[in-house]
Symmetry: D3
Subunit: 241 residues, 6 copies
C-alpha cells in the first residue's frame, strides 16, 4: 500500500519556511508542508493587557483560522456566522500553549506578541505546520524586540527552546508521518506531536478517530513523530541561520 | 511529599456513580470524583438532524458546561457573555469523541442522543469525571431505546465497548493519578487518558503546562492512567449491573 | 377533582432547604418544592462594579437558568444559541428585585453578591422555589461577610426582612397553591406571589394564561399565596436556625 | 402634595389614539399618554411559522423597543449591542400575552399578526400605552383580514374582547393613576394593570420598587387601575367607531 | 412617460422639516420627502470617548435604522437578529461622513454628538432625507451647546458649511430627481448626491443597479442632483431661520 | 511634489494577476497592486439558495476581509469580536455589485458563485484590487462551469462585460491615480471608480474625506480613473488569454 504522493511511511512532505513573506509584521513566515500553506505572523506591541500590568511578565497568544476556500469545499466565515467554532478555538489554544512552552515570559518583559496562523491552503496537518512556522515568526519577533533593546534578557534566553510539530497516524494498520488530507480522513488513529528541539514533548494529542489504539501502536506513532519533529527542527535552524 | 488528601500516587479519589439522579432524562448520572461532581444526562430523540436523514446512522453528541459558582471564584455565564468559550468547546468535543468511540452508530439506528455534562462542583478532573459518568448515562439511554424496540441491534452491540477517563500528572517529579484542583494548578505535566474497558486508548492528551516531558515520564503517566481507567471501568460495571 | 399528587388545594408540596450543598460558594442551598430542584448559590466579592464605586452602596443581583435537560424534553443551551432568552431574563430580574427588597444595600457596604439559581430538575414553580432558596443562600452570604467584619451593620439589619415566594393558580375553577408542571400547563390563571416574612407583598404577578380573571378570583389567589409564603417563611426560619 | 401636571390622583393624562398614522401596515396607531408617544403597527402575513402549520391556529406576537433618544439620555441601540435586553424582552412578552388574551386564534385562521410597539418619546407608562394602542392596531388588522375574507370567523368573534392597560403606583403614600416618568422614579410601589373592556383582569404586575406593600394598598391600586382601564376602553371604542 | 406622482423629472417631492418634533433631544427633526418620514435626533454629551480624550477634538457620529414596518413588508429587527446588517452599516457611515464634513471638530470642543436617524416610514430616498434632516438637528444641537457656552467657537464657525442630500436616477432612459420607492426599484442607475450649501460635493455614490452608465448620463445626474441639493439647502435655511 | 514611489500622477503601481494561486477553488487569483496583495477565490456550487430555487437565475455574491496583520498594526479578528464591521460590510457589498454587473445571471443557470477577497497585505486600494482580481477569478469559475456543461449559455455570454476598478484621489491639490496607503491617509478627496472594459461606469464613489470637491475636481478624477481602469482591463485580458 503506497501513499498518495509515494512517500515512505516515515517521510515528511517537502517543507519550506519562507521568512519575511509579508512586510508589516515583526515576524512573517509562509510555511508549506506539501500543499498545506499557512501564513504565520507575529505582531508585537509594547505593554501587556491591563490585568497583567505590573506582573513583569510578557504575553504570548495565538489565533488560528482558515480562509473560507482554503479547503476543498467552501466553509462559511466565522465572522459572518458571528462566532468562533470549536475546532478553531481548540487549535488556537494548542498553538498558544506550544509557543508559550518555548518562551521565558519574564525575560520577554512586559511586551505582547500575538501569533496569527491563517491557512491559505489546506491539505492536512494545518495545525502542526502552523506551530512549526509560528516558531520561526516568533523567533523573528523576539529578535526584532532585541534590536530595539526591549527585552529583559538575550533573545536566546527569551526563547529557551524551539518547538516543532507534526501529525502522525495509522492508516490500514501502517503508522505514517505527516498525513496529507487524503490520508487524514481515512486514518484509524490521528496524533499530533509537539516537540522541543531536544526531542522532549510539549504536547501529545492522540485520538482513535475510527477506533481505538494499543500501547504498541501509540509507541510506534511516538517514534515517528519525534523523528519528524527533529527533522523540522533542523529546517527551522537553517531558516533562521 | 504527600498529596493534599493523603492518597497514594496511584490512588483514585472516592468515586460514585449515582444513576437516575434526575427523573426526566433517559439516562441521568451524578458522578463524583472526590469533590468533583458532574451531572451527566442523556437525552434521546427519535430521528437525526436533517443533513443526516436517510443515512441509517444515529447521532451522538455531547455538551459540557460549568455552573458559574462550581469553582472557587464565580465565572460569568457563557449565555450572558453570548458565546461558548474555547475551553468549553474543547471539552465538549473531547467528550463527544470519547462516547462515539463506544457506539456503533449504524446499530443505534436513526436516533439522536445528546449527552449533557454539567459541572455542579469542580475540584479538578471535571472532564474525565464527565466522560466516566456520561458513559453510564449513555448506557441507560441505549437500554431505554432497547426497551422501546427502537434500536437496530442489541444494546450490547450498540455499545460495543465501554469508556472511562482519568487525569494524571507530574507534580514535583512524581507521577500521580486523578489530580485534584490543588494538584492540577501546580502540575508540570497534565494528561487526560481515555481508555476502553479493555485498556485500549481512545484518546491521549498530554500537555507540558509548566514545561516539557520526556518519553520516560510519558510512559509512567500512561501506566498510571491505564490502571486508573480499568478501576473506573470496574465501578461502571458495578453501577449498571 | 383531585390534584395529581392528592394534595389539598391549599397545600404546599414537600419543601426542603439543604444548606451548604456545594462547598465553594459563600451561600449554597439546594431547594426542593416536590420534584422541582434548584441550586441557589450566593457569591460574594469585595467591591462593587466600577460605575457604583464610592456610592457607599452594595450590589445584589441574580441570574436564573435551567439545565438543558431539567425539563421533560431537552432545551438548547442559551450559551450555544448565543443569547439569553426572554423568559430567562424575566425570571432573573424577578429574583433580583425580590432579593433586593430584603436587603439594606447601604449597610451591606461596598460588597457585591451574585445569586445564581440553576434549575437541576423542573416540575413547575421553579422561579418561586428559586426565590425561596435564594433568600437562605443570601442569608448565609451575609453572615459570611459578618464573620469577616465586612458589613457596615449587623447581619440582621442588612437583611431587614425575609422573602419567600409561591405560585398559585386556578384550574377548572379551583384556586390551588404551589402548582406542579402538570397543573401549570392547564391553569386558566397563573400567579406568582412574593411576600415578606411579615406577609406584605414584594411582588404580585398574575396572568390569565388561557383567559381572564375576576376581582374575586384574584382575592382567592392572594389569600392562598400569602398563607403559602408564611409557611415557607417558617421553613426558612428553621433552616437557618 | 400635587402631581407634576396637577392631575387628580385618579386622573389619566390626555390620551390620543391616532389611527392610520403610517401607510404601510395593516394597522397603524400612534398612541399618546401625555408626552409618552408609541407607534403601534400590526403586520399581517398569510400563513404561520413552520412549526405551527396545520394546527388551524393563527399566530399573534409582539415586539417592543425604544428609539435610542426617546428618553432623557440616549441609550445604545440593542442592534448595536447585539442583543435584546431583559427589560425589552419582558415588555414584549407582556404585550404579546395581553393581545393574545383578546383573540380567538382558531377563528383568526392560519394567519400571522406581528405587533410592533416602538416608543418614539417616553414619559412613563410606555408599556401600558403600547398595549392600549396595540389593541386598536390589532383591531384594524383583523378588519383588514375580514375585508379580504381571510378569517375563519367574524372580526367580532376573532376579537372576543378588548384590552387596555394603565400603570398605577403609590407616591408618598398616595395611590395614583397613570404615572409620568417623574412620578415613576420615586414610586414606592409600581403596578401595571391590564384589563378587558368588561373590567376583568388579563394581567396584574405589582412591584415594591422601594419597599413592600400591604393588601389594602394593593386593593386601592386595583380600584384605580380598573377605573383607568375602563376609561381607556371607552377611548378605544370611540377611536374605532 | 409620467412619474407615479406626476412630478416633473427635476422636481423634488414636497419636503418638510419639522423641528422640535420630540422633546428630549438637543436637536429633533422630523423630515419628510413625500411619504418618506425620518426622525433625526441629535444627542449631546459632554466629553468624548476615552481614546479621544485630550485631543481637543469633538466627536460626531451617526446611526441609521428602519422601524420594522416602515416598509411595505415587515423586516425583522436587527436587535432580534443580533447584528447590524450591511445596508444599515453602510448608510450609518455615509450619514456620519456627510455631517462631519460640515463641522469643525476642533471648535466643537471635547463634546460628543450622536445623530440618530430612524425611518418611521419609507418610500425611497431614506438616506438622503436622513442627511438633510440630520443637518438641521445638528444645527440645533450646536446652538444648544452655544447657549450653554460649551463650544470653542461660534456656532457659525463650528458648522462651517451646511449639507443636504438627494437621490437621482435613470428610469427608462430619463434622468429623474428624488426617486420614490416605485421608481427606485426599476431604476437602471441610482445615485446619491451629498452637497454643501455652496454646491460643492461631499459625497457622490452612483451605482448601475441594472446596468452601466456613460459619462454623459453621469453628468446629467450630477446636474439634477446639485440643483436638488440647492433647493433643499434653501428649505434648511428657512427651517432654522 | 513627488509620489512616495516616484510614480507619475496618472501611473498605476505594478499590477500582477497570478491565476491558479491556490489549487482548490474553481477560480483563484492573487492580485497585486504594488504591495497590496489580495487573494481572490471563486467557489462554485451547483444550485442556488432555497429562496431563489426555480427562478432560473444564478447567484453571485462576494465577501471581503483582511487578515489581522495585513496592515501596519494588528486589527482584531471580526470572528473573535463576533461581528462583521461596517467597513467590511460596505466593501463586500461593493464587490458583489461590481461583479453582478458583469454577469448574465439567467445564462449562469441555477449555479452559485461566491467570491472571497482576502487581503493578505494592505497598502491602499484593497477594494479596487479585489474587484480587479475577482473578475479574473470569476472568469475562471465561469469557464470551469462551461467545461462541465453547466451553463445555460456560452461563457462569453454569461460574462457579458469585464470589470476593473481603481482608486483616485486629490493630494495637495493634485489628482492622482491608484493611491498607496501613505497617500490615501492624506487625500482630501478619495474616489473609487469601477468601469467596464468598454469604459462605462459600474460604480462611482467619491468622498471628501478632509473636505469637499468641485465639479472640475470630480471631472479630473473621473478622467484619471477611466484611463486607469482601461489599463487594468488590458492586464486582465492578457492574464486570461
Amino acid at each position: 500500500m503506497s501513499r498518495p504522493d509515494d512517500r515512505a511511511p516515515d517521510q515528511l512532505r517537502p517543507v519550506t519556511l519562507n521568512r519575511g513573506w509579508t512586510v508589516h509584521p515583526e515576524g512573517s513566515v509562509l510555511v508549506e508542508f506539501g500543499q498545506t500553506r499557512v501564513l504565520c505572523t507575529a505582531s508585537v506591541t509594547e505593554g501587556v493587557p491591563r490585568w497583567r500590568k505590573g506582573s513583569g511578565l510578557g504575553w504570548l497568544t495565538a489565533e488560528y483560522a482558515m480562509l473560507p476556500r482554503s479547503t476543498n469545499t467552501r466553509n462559511d466565515r466565522e465572522s459572518v456566522r458571528g462566532k468562533v467554532g470549536g475546532r478553531t478555538h481548540e487549535i488556537s489554544r494548542l498553538i498558544g500553549r506550544a509557543l508559550r512552552a518555548t518562551a521565558d515570559l519574564k525575560l520577554l518583559g512586559e511586551n505582547s506578541i500575538v501569533i496569527d496562523c491563517d491557512v491559505l491552503q489546506a491539505d492536512g496537518g494545518t495545525r502542526t505546520a502552523a506551530i512549526t512556522g509560528a516558531y520561526v515568526a516568533l523567533h523573528d519577533a523576539v529578535h526584532w524586540l532585541a534590536g530595539r533593546r526591549k527585552l529583559a534578557g538575550s533573545p536566546d534566553d527569551v526563547l529557551k527552546r524551539s518547538v516543532a510539530a507534526v501529525s502522525v497516524g495509522i492508516i490500514g494498520g501502517e503508522p505514517r508521518l505527516d498525513l496529507c488530507y487524503e490520508e487524514d480522513v481515512v486514518a484509524d488513529v490521528d496524533m499530533n506531536i509537539v516537540c522541543t528541539g531536544a526531542g522532549d514533548f510539549v504536547e501529545v494529542q492522540g485520538t482513535g478517530e475510527q477506533g481505538v489504539f494499543s500501547r504498541d501502536e501509540l509507541n510506534a506513532l511516538l517514534d515517528l513523530g519525534i523523528a519528524g519533529c527533529l527533522e523540522l527542527t533542523e529546517l527551522q535552524r537553517k531558516a533562521v541561520a
